[in-house]
């Protein structure tokens, strides 16, 4: 399953980078994530509850941030395991400065699914994945706004 999209933020890419690299921010904005434990530099253990189309389960797994080119790009590698199947995700994230202090985050990657989640409802999953991504970015926007207000 391909995951691909782009989202604009009202902050320059350097600041966006800092938010994205903040574990606590990530844990806060990602839907379903109940716990993010550090396993080393840029390497985390994750616990999440995700509803994928018709099925819902608890996923545990690892997430690694690699190929960091501050502040322009990085890669996320995830392996998520659950009773209803596993997901292996590799996503390339590219940050780009836009005019007026704005920036864009472009992502493109692949999620290899197995088990029940692979064979049940996969045709609706990319829609679900897009919805999840939208939620993440919306939460990030809200977090940035909140952060700015506090400052």
């Amino acid at each position: 399953m391909r995951v691909k999209g782009k989202h604009e933020f009202n902050i320059p890419k350097q600041r966006l980078w800092e938010y994205l690299m903040d574990v606590e921010v990530l844990a806060k904005i990602t839907p379903g994530i109940s716990k993010l434990e550090s396993l080393g530099e840029d390497h985390f253990k994750t616990h999440s509850q995700i509803k994928l189309g018709p099925v819902k389960s608890t996923f545990t797994g690892e997430m690694q941030v690699t190929n960091k080119q501050e502040p322009s790009s990085f890669q996320i590698n995830m392996e998520q395991l659950s009773k209803i199947g596993n997901a292996h995700v590799v996503v390339q994230m590219n940050l780009e400065d836009l005019e007026e202090g704005k920036s864009a985050l472009e992502f493109d990657g692949k999620a290899n699914l197995s088990g029940v989640i692979a064979r049940t409802g996969q045709r609706v999953l990319s829609g679900v994945a897009n919805a999840i991504t939208k939620d993440v970015f919306k939460a990030l926007e809200e977090h940035i706004e909140e952060d700015n207000t506090l400052a």
Binding site: M1, P54, K83, G85, N86, H88, N112, L113, S114, G115, V116, A118, R119, T120, G121, Q122, R123
Partner: protein
């Protein structure tokens, strides 16, 4: 004489099926029974680094857990029952198919461990605690891609994933020369997509080792208990056959997928000996999607050449056939001897060559599925000839009629010898098409099609098919690579009171044998239908059997019954002659009694049967009893044929295609029970049309089956079909005593190309000269085709 044959006698088995009293494998409960769940690979291609069962073995209710490494090396994998060697003489590649994987998984669903617990739920829960560490590798799922250099390999030692290649017919150069001389050549690249069989009853197996008798019993949802016993005992577990009983009780549909011997059957038997408890395994629907052997999956290029008069001059076909990860029981026979040999079709094509490359992929095994090879052959021929008619702007029905083989009855005129190794038994092909044209109102339809003004497109599609059924002569299939004979057995046991028990080696799993076979026995013996019982499916009561598939039960199993009836009546005549103090030559048998010709002296069947078992006043030297067995091995296949016509209406805005009418005229030889044959045709049509319009298994490029549930795999429903318009012609089979040919698969064989041809016809008439649309013809695909 025929009180029952030819009559639509209501099915005697339906009372128990319709009132929920059928007894299927999963209905069987035994004291002390435990339940198995099989942990399966979630990956298509991966190396197992380790399996940790410790946590799982401590889970509630767990009795035992076995992995591949627990099974001794002496136990072989599941064997293949048909050998097709390479063109150059090299032996077919037949890599082992272990009961449980030891090191490497090769498709999603490959068995990794069997978890046995006091309930199925406990077994399933515990299986989630088994920790398997995998290294995941790249996978290949397409049969053509698998043969290319650099494709991921499914098995070590199988270069280019090639199981075998195979060729049949005239030399390629001759076919190429004929195509070069043709005035028109139609060429088509197409896919015959992968099908999930979807029997209503999921597969189930119970293994029971009885220490008291040192005997094993396997209850299993199978189409052929004896073959399963033979394969399991002789090739997998090394058990003495007389110590193993295999029972296929009521079975809820198979469509081919329950012919094969599966790993789970041998597993429950082996495990039951280890733990000394009866073990039941019943797969859930999701497992059925992953592990019931699939059907079709051919990637084909074909060329058909015509001369200036529209006569076919040559046919060249090349097919990549997907075998899946392992060779299932009959898999090699399907794209070869059940497909290549049928490419003569109903036509006089003088030059034919068919070339098949069979490859392994990281997918579930592919094997016989309703029609098995013949639907693929029919699809190839009928798509080509319909497309050729469009390209040459000639009438598709005319083009077929022009190329049909002339009538032959197989008695006065010899059977027709094809370019591809068969001799057809009897055939008269024009009448089925003419009758279908009459039923459809062809001329009026073409007028309506021209003058359409409702934003829709109308199309008509034809398919005229032949199939080889009643498989078959053992010597012939043996020479073609079958590792089994394909005869059938029948025992007719007359009880002292004149009631008759018939033990048949055929197996009924929806076909209605208990009715059709009883009709034959009752008529031939002149007794009441209620006085006959058909017993099948138990290796302890039936002498032997090759089971039911390939539309063979009536032609082969029915003929075996006739042979035994003949023996009963011959001996009965001797007893009757003794009782009547006449010569048996002077007797005639009718209406359940022997009569001395020209007199009113007679003796009834019941008196004779009683005398046979109470032989006080009895012919000298004659053995008591009235009980005969026969084995019938036919001299040829049977060759049913027919003409199918589909009419579709396409919505131009959405591509939604409605099947408006479906006409099927089939010739299945003599018909014993018209209602049952109608039902078989209806069911076959639903499956064939389902393939054309709805169904298809989809693997993604990592080897995941991404539509493995009824939410995602589209099964046809009643409201997808019009009321079928069906009729028959009758061309009896000349070489079996019943003159029957077989009807179980005809509907699925003929119908698929008719529907696709109708859609293509509609598009051409609407100005879209599209050569092919991939099945299933979803609205999206049809809409896309109209945008070019």
């Amino acid at each position: 004489m025929t009180k029952y044959i030819g009559k639509s006698v209501k099915r005697v088995e339906d009372k128990r099926f319709l009132t929920g009293q059928g007894k299927y494998t999963d209905d069987i409960k035994m004291p002390g029974m435990v339940y198995a769940y099989i942990l399966r690979s979630p990956y298509a291609h991966a190396t197992i680094n380790s399996i940790d069962v410790e946590a799982a073995s401590k889970a509630d209710g767990v009795v035992a857990i076995f992995t591949g490494n627990d099974i001794p090396e002496s136990i072989a994998g599941v064997p293949c029952g048909w050998q097709v060697d390479f063109k150059n003489g090299d032996t077919m590649k037949e890599p082992p198919h272990p009961l449980l994987v030891r090191k490497k998984v090769r498709h999603v669903g490959d068995g990794v461990a069997i978890v046995i617990a006091n309930s199925k739920a406990q077994a399933k829960d515990a299986s989630e605690l088994v920790d398997v560490d995998y290294d995941i590798h790249d996978a290949v799922t397409d049969p053509k891609a698998a043969a290319q250099d650099g494709a991921p390999l499914v098995h070590e030692g199988v270069p280019n994933n090639m199981a075998f290649d195979w060729e049949l017919g005239n030399p390629k150069e001759e076919v190429a020369a004929a195509l070069a001389s043709a005035t028109h050549v139609t060429e088509l690249d197409f896919v015959n997509q992968r099908m999930v069989p979807n029997a209503m009853e999921p597969r189930s197996a119970i293994g029971h080792y009885d220490t008291a008798y040192d005997k094993y019993t396997l209850y299993t949802s199978t189409q052929n208990p004896h073959l399963t016993r033979l394969l399991m005992c002789a090739f997998v577990l090394g058990l003495p056959e007389h110590k193993v009983r295999v029972v296929g009780p009521d079975v809820g549909g198979g469509f081919g997928s329950k012919i094969f011997h599966y790993a789970e059957e041998a597993l429950v038997i082996w495990c039951s000996k280890q733990i000394l408890k009866p073990i039941k395994w019943t797969c859930d629907r999701s497992e059925a999607f992953l592990t019931d052997a699939h059907g079709r999956d051919h990637v084909t290029n074909a060329k058909m050449g015509f001369d200036a008069d529209g006569k076919i001059v040559a046919l060249q076909a090349h097919t990549y056939a997907n075998m899946g990860a392992y060779l299932s029981t009959f898999a090699p026979a399907v794209p070869t001897y059940l497909h290549g040999t049928l490419l003569q079709g109903l036509y006089t094509t003088p030059k034919i060559n068919v070339d098949v490359t069979a490859t392994f992929t990281h997918t579930n095994a592919v094997d016989a599925y309703r029609g098995a090879g013949r639907p693929e052959a029919t699809y190839l021929l009928e798509r080509l000839i319909d497309l050729a008619a469009l390209e040459m702007d000639v009438d598709p029905a005319e083009l077929r009629l022009k190329n049909f083989i002339a009538p032959f009855d197989g008695v006065e005129q010899e059977g027709y010898v094809t370019q591809v190794a068969l001799q057809y038994d009897s055939g008269n092909y024009a009448p089925v098409l003419n009758k279908a044209l009459e039923m459809v109102g062809y001329e009026a339809f073409r007028e309506e099609q021209k003058n359409l003004s409702n934003g829709k497109l109308l199309g008509i599609g034809f398919s005229t098919y032949i199939e080889a059924c009643g498989i078959a002569p053992s010597a012939v299939v043996g020479s073609l690579g079958a590792r089994a004979g394909l005869f059938e057995s029948a025992q007719v046991r007359v009880q002292p009171t004149g009631k008759v028990s018939v033990y048949s080696g055929s197996h009924s799993h929806g076909q209605g044998h208990e009715t059709t076979f009883a009709q034959i026995v009752a008529d031939r013996m002149g007794i009441a239908l209620e006085d006959v019982e058909i017993i099948h499916g138990d290796s302890d009561s039936v002498a032997f059997g090759m089971g039911t598939y390939g539309s063979r039960s009536l032609a082969v199993g029915g003929s075996a019954i006739v042979k035994s009836i003949d023996k009963v009546l011959e001996k009965g005549a001797k007893i009757a002659a003794h009782l009547l103090e006449a010569s048996s030559d002077d007797l005639e048998y009718e209406g359940g009694k022997w009569t001395v010709k020209g007199t009113d002296k007679s003796v009834g069947f019941g008196d004779v049967s009683l005398t046979a078992y109470v032989p006080h006043n009895y012919p000298e030297g004659l053995e008591p009893g009235l009980d005969f067995s026969s084995f019938y091995d036919p001299t040829n296949f049977t060759y049913p044929f027919g003409a199918h016509i589909a009419i579709v209406e396409i919505d131009k805005e959405t591509g939604y295609t409605k099947l408006k009418r479906f006409i099927a005229v089939d010739d299945v030889g003599n018909v014993i029970n018209p209602m049952i044959v109608d039902g078989q045709i209806h069911g076959g049509l639903a499956q064939g049309i389902g393939q054309a319009m709805h169904e298809g298994a989809i693997y993604d490029d990592t080897g995941q089956l991404i539509n493995g549930s009824y939410m995602d795999y589209c099964m046809p429903r009643a409201d997808d079909f019009p009321s079928f318009e069906i009729d028959r012609t009758v061309t009896p089979c000349p070489h079996n005593p019943l003159g029957v040919k077989g009807a179980g698969e005809a509907g699925a064989i003929g119908s698929t190309p008719a529907v696709v041809n109708a859609v293509i016809d509609a598009l051409w008439k609407g100005g879209h000269k599209v050569k092919d649309i991939k099945m299933p013809l979803t609205p999206e695909r049809v809409w896309t085709a109209m945008q070019d």
